[in-house]
Symmetry: C2
Subunit: 114 residues, 2 copies
């Protein structure tokens, strides 16, 4: 599954403290690489790498404006990740309900045996 591979990449991108904090910051509004690097106590180059990863995970969208690169949240990645989680939880609940039914049936059968 192509979609599957993508979601895994998105989760991996989310699973880092610097990137998660950066996303929270970008949630407040767009920013340049320098503006993101400074509060993270990190070099420009370092932050650039994180942004690249977030971009490939569709969590951030960027564009060059003059000599600064403008970064902002992209919903896509968030939507994909949320979708996968919701699907998983939905399937699980269905599974659990089916299990419960089976148990109920067994109980009824046991009663009838007596």
């Amino acid at each position: 599954m192509v979609q599957y591979r993508k979601t895994e990449e998105t989760f991996a991108a989310l699973g880092d403290p610097v990137r998660m904090a950066t996303l929270e910051r970008l949630g407040e509004g767009g920013a340049s690489i320098s503006e993101l690097a400074e509060p993270a106590g990190m070099s420009l180059t370092g932050m650039k790498k994180h942004i690249r990863i977030l971009e490939e995970a569709n969590l951030v969208r960027t564009e060059k404006r003059g000599r600064t690169r403008w970064c902002e949240i992209s919903s896509e990645g968030f939507d994909e990740a949320a979708f996968w989680l919701d699907e998983f939880r939905r399937r699980r609940h269905k599974q659990l309900n089916r299990l419960e039914e089976v148990i109920e049936r067994k109980k009824r059968e046991k009663r009838n045996e007596k």
Copy 2:
């Protein structure tokens, strides 16, 4: 935030192909370590490590039954991750609406100037 650190760990646990596949498998029902290791083409020890990571992320719960360790899905981690994503998306939509309002106001002001 303690909760925050936890969620990041959960995303990191999800962000691996073997672990994601293992979760999908466990979604079908519980399994032993060997049963999980085999289809992943991996040693017992290797799978054990993944299970440990999934366990610490509250995505899997395990218990020892005789000489086999039984693994099954734990909803907690999934719930936490989904909660964080939903919160983030909710905040973002609110932010976008506020932005839209500001733009609308500017437009009105411009019209009044003419």
